[in-house]
Subunit: 290 residues, 2 copies
């Protein structure tokens, strides 16, 4: 039972499934618990919401005991404490394979949406891209493995960006794919300079197409550009300008030369994946308003 | 993104997993979609809450296509429409076995809890008990199979009961087990007359121990008994008085003769299962109140 909130409530639900989103090893159970919460916090970050509470439904093999549950909880609570989000309840059930489904809620006066972008808005991404994808490969460097297993949801940046951005999305499916989601929702095309993508360990193609970075992609109106960049610098949030919205299609350029879209542009994810089903119209049940 | 609510928000999450909570067949995918929502609505009913919105996370085999998803949705939406609860979002992922995790939210000014019971309160149950358990057996009668696959969450009764009851719980684990949950939370024992249990197809032992009836168990203060019974009769809600709270233990009687508790009293459920983790203390993050 949760108290009423004055702001709007942003809710999201996302699952991590063994064999689809992780394997143990290389993931530890602590990593699994952490990442299950992180992917949901990343959704709240993209809405510019303050994390408030989450529910955690765990389906796990019968062989799991207190030790395994504590390991999951330990990884999850380390992140929950750091982000000041409260566990409000949950469910345990048995299953053949381990999966965790978390529902997270945050509040905000004015949520960032995917659909608010306009032609001319400048595109920024946080952090560096492609490292999480590299972290899946055998012999990957520690920094890449860490980015894959312990992504840092950009909650503080989302809160900052909500004062400036017209639209936002978190990068779970890869920049190219998630940019398309934002463009489709905003009803505009975009132009991205692949030579400007912020990279640390990954090559350009991996930065463009690799998923699970859980960085933020932000659309900033040109009139807010200077103030946004100043605020990011003051808050030590690393953001990189990579292009702008506009036109009828997604175009990728290296310098001034158009390049083809990444291969398999529509098919990165292991499964069909939606996050923004439209709510149904308000209920007509005769009931007291509460 | 959901509008602010004036009442308290009651949230619950529960999963149904293939091979644990259902098999297909005998369940159709329509049944699975229906029941995944029904078990969550039953939790809201037990809190006396108005159903408002739900999120639906589906993990499904890669072989599933539009036809299978439509079948799940069809069963789910038939119940959602009837109970006027809106789908607000969700997630799809692949998995080896089908599972659905739903998070449902309702609102109420004064939620019914498990913990509000007092010694002397009268115990009532809705409907008839044990039929859902019978419905799992080969050759079960249609009414029992229907109760197993299409349980009717007692939302209207929960709303009615919230004006009278001191405590409530829905019967997912079986009467004996769920009564224990209510008694533990309320800090009291209870006395139940097994010869008074409302039965249709089931014998006494199955009515007492069989799970998944998704009926409500209500504790009604004696001063509210007459008004509660009148309100139930007026609303055509079938409830049966089966005992009362009090004493230090759970006691089961046939007439005036004590009988032993049902076998396996602690072990009905396929997996460890909790629903009421206490929320953490309020956040101390320095953030604007919204």
């Amino acid at each position: 039972v949760l108290p009423p909130t004055r702001g709007k409530l942003c809710v999201t639900t996302d699952s991590v499934v063994e064999g689809v989103h992780f394997r143990t090893p290389p993931f530890t159970l602590e990593d699994v618990g952490y990442k299950a919460l992180a992917v949901n916090l990343s959704d709240l970050a993209a809405m510019g919401a303050y994390p408030r509470w989450f529910l955690c439904a765990i389906a796990m093999p019968r062989a799991f005991g207190a030790r395994e549950v504590k390991a999951l909880a330990s990884g999850m609570s380390s992140l929950a404490r750091g982000q000041r989000i409260a566990l409000a309840g949950g469910n345990f059930t048995s299953a053949r394979e381990l999966s965790i489904t978390i529902t997270a809620a945050g509040t905000t006066r004015k949520p960032l949406l995917r659909s608010g972008g306009h032609p001319g808005d400048l595109l920024y991404v946080s952090g560096t891209l492609g490292d999480a994808r590299l972290g899946l490969e055998p012999g990957a460097r520690l920094a890449a493995r860490r980015k894959q297993r312990r992504p840092q949801p950009r909650v503080d940046l989302g809160l900052l960006a909500s004062r400036f951005a017209s639209a936002a999305i978190d990068l779970s499916d890869g920049l190219a794919q998630d940019l398309r989601h934002l463009c489709d929702a905003s009803g505009t095309g975009a132009e991205v300079r692949v030579d400007l993508l912020p990279r640390s360990l990954a090559d350009e193609a991996t930065a463009l197409a690799g998923g699970e970075d859980y960085e933020l992609l932000l659309a900033i109106p040109p009139t807010r550009q200077a103030a946004f960049e100043r605020a990011c610098a003051a808050a030590r949030e690393k953001v990189t300008r990579i292009g702008h919205l506009g036109g009828a299609h997604l175009r990728f350029l290296r310098g001034t030369h158009p390049i083809p879209p990444p291969p398999g542009f529509d098919h990165f994810r292991p499964a069909v994946h939606f996050k923004s089903a439209p709510p149904r119209p308000p209920s007509k049940r005769a009931r007291p308003r509460i």
